[in-house]
Symmetry: C2
Subunit: 352 residues, 2 copies
């Protein structure tokens, strides 16, 4: 090829899952930062906080009290974005003003009774219980005929709009398949058609495994490959990708579920160790919709973390990113190298 | 229709410009907020700040000094995301690892020599000079054969990643048409084909003008309609839309350019008056690419402001929004009603 230098020259990378581009400007990492700083996470939290509405035994906004749960705990979101019970809206056929009704359910899932923990500090066997409640919840929703899609996610940290540090995630279950998974499913389907039945994400996993330098791999276990995808947008974005074709959480056997718990622990622990802070992110699980033929769906987790250079300096996806296209500074390969060299022992327990 | 209540029932609205959906959950505005608060803008700024690298006469990171400019001033960004001079990258044909080189130029445009002002507080005749430098810069870039697209934008406020309060915007000029305008152009082109040569945005402007309640109109002048689009994502998002078909800034006559300055002043002034704070936003201008046949392009400005309920409480587009689909609480019609009733005299000058 030419003398193009991927560590210095601007280029854009294509995201085949969403069929969109990301601008990469690697030389821009030298830019000084005089803008907004995030509050670093200095807080020492108690194991139990009497004012936390997620702690065992405490009362929630609805007036109900949490049970004295020992592992995980799920309850309906008191401020649900979608509800099961609302009138039908007839589909309208208008190219300018187009609207659909959306029924559904929103749930909150506590990962642990301990107010002071995060997934990064929890042992694999406890995270395995989180994988189990995710799996059971998915199966439970499958029984409801007005729900077609389960979006499991976690907002961690104030920088990601999280208003309670108690370890928890959410599950928004909807009648319609939301925009992002629906774009991805279309790409997976198109790829399958074009490539004689092959799976985009299986093929991509094989490509990363076949790379002699393993440039974008952070780590792997028997079931999962953890990589900074070639087309990553957020500075330290990673994808947790099964190496073989797994469609949804319930499609995994016992060992694979424990491997997922292992991958979650190792990603989040490395994240915390990167800037020695509780690392903010949004994480989400993409998998098979509940009804219909989606054999091309391939389970995976996206981690979208905003921090760029330290516990207090984040990447803003604004201006050009909103109006033009997403832009990143360090390359995915540089990000993977940074994450690869970090310890899988949490910095807090190292200090102890 | 049914007894579906758009002010209470969850629904999703289709954005025909980007061909994507937004979830609207109007009952969710009652949700209490215990999360991160933005720092309100209490700062009193001097007219000239000797430490500001954008003020007249001061030195920049490059070592160069700004002229003693009196109106507007443009200079090349010292930390440009794209550069004119880099090796060519041959196009690769790979469905998984796809990449393109991107040459270009990045510029910074100061709106005023006054460090203490923002567009919201500037008189129309001074904003008109900003419209003129935008127009001239677009025409200047048209002469460079390696630039096909000019993305003019403004990041205002620390919440939008802006690191210097001196009134300024940017212009990123690239070889490739970025993702967002390229999606929009495709939609405009498809609409034109499907609707016998008509323009999506001309038709949409007519639809809003024909609405007897003018539910989504904030205000208008002879040339521009200012609306909260039916498919708005951000709480108080607005679009500044020419009522007739105008492709780009240079296609406007003198009166139309002044009308654009008028629209910019009135939007930003209403924004500041909403929560009596310097209102953060990202603004961007979409218009015709520089080369090629784009007669279907229709000039418009997007304003994406994050504040939701007060000077300190913003909407976070995280979690479900990143992994599922954008979600909003108040309806576009409610947002338009709020913006409509505000004064066009800036709250600071009312106090004086
Ligand atoms: O160029 P600035 O103002 O330093 O930087 C700001 O705007 C850029 C373009 O929208 C973004 O890429 C940066 O993340 C943001 O902090
Ligand atoms: O439901 P929460 O945690 O109160 O709210 C958070 O997550 C939601 C789902 O990602 C977002 O819509 C909110 O903007 C965010 O603050």
């Amino acid at each position: 090829m030419s003398n193009f230098d991927f560590n210095n020259n601007s280029h854009r990378r294509y995201n085949p899952l969403t069929k969109s581009w990301v601008l990469c400007s690697p030389h821009r990492t030298q830019r000084p930062w005089q803008g907004q700083q995030e509050g670093p996470d200095m807080e020492q939290r108690p194991q139990y906080d009497p004012k936390c509405y997620l702690c065992p035994g405490n009362q929630r906004a609805s007036g109900e009290s949490n049970p004295n749960y020992h592992d995980t705990f799920r309850f309906p979101n008191d401020f649900a974005a979608v509800k099961a019970d609302q009138p039908e809206l007839e589909a309208n056929d208008d190219d300018l003003i187009k609207v659909e009704g959306v029924r559904g359910e929103c749930h909150v899932i506590c990962f642990s009774p301990r107010h002071d923990l995060t997934l990064a500090e929890m042992p694999v066997q406890d995270i395995r219980k989180v994988v189990d409640i995710w799996t059971d919840s998915y199966l439970e929703m499958k029984k409801k005929d007005f729900i077609n899609h389960v979006q499991i996610f976690e907002n961690k940290g104030a920088a990601m709009g999280c208003s309670n540090p108690h370890p928890h995630g959410q599950m928004w279950c909807t009648e319609r398949i939301p925009e992002e998974p629906s774009k991805e499913l279309l790409s997976l389907q198109d790829y399958k058609k074009k490539h004689n039945g092959k799976c985009l994400l299986c093929d991509y996993a094989q490509r990363e495994l076949a790379d002699p330098e393993r440039k974008r791999t952070v780590f792997e276990n028997d079931t999962f490959l953890v990589i900074v995808p070639f087309w990553a947008t957020w500075p330290f974005e990673v994808m947790v990708l099964p190496k073989t074709h797994i469609g949804s959480l319930p499609d995994m056997d016992d060992k694979q579920k424990t491997d997922l718990a292992d991958a979650v622990r190792r990603v989040t622990c490395r994240y915390d160790n990167l800037f020695k802070t509780s690392f903010p992110y949004s994480m989400g699980i993409h998998q098979k919709p509940l009804n219909g033929e989606y054999d091309f769906a391939h389970l995976h987790l996206h981690y979208y973390p905003p921090l760029l250079r330290s516990a207090t300096v984040r990447k803003f996806l604004v201006g050009f990113e909103m109006l033009g296209e997403p832009q990143r500074d360090l390359t995915p390969e540089q990000a993977a190298a940074r994450l690869r060299e970090l310890s899988e022992v949490h910095y807090k327990s190292q200090q102890a």
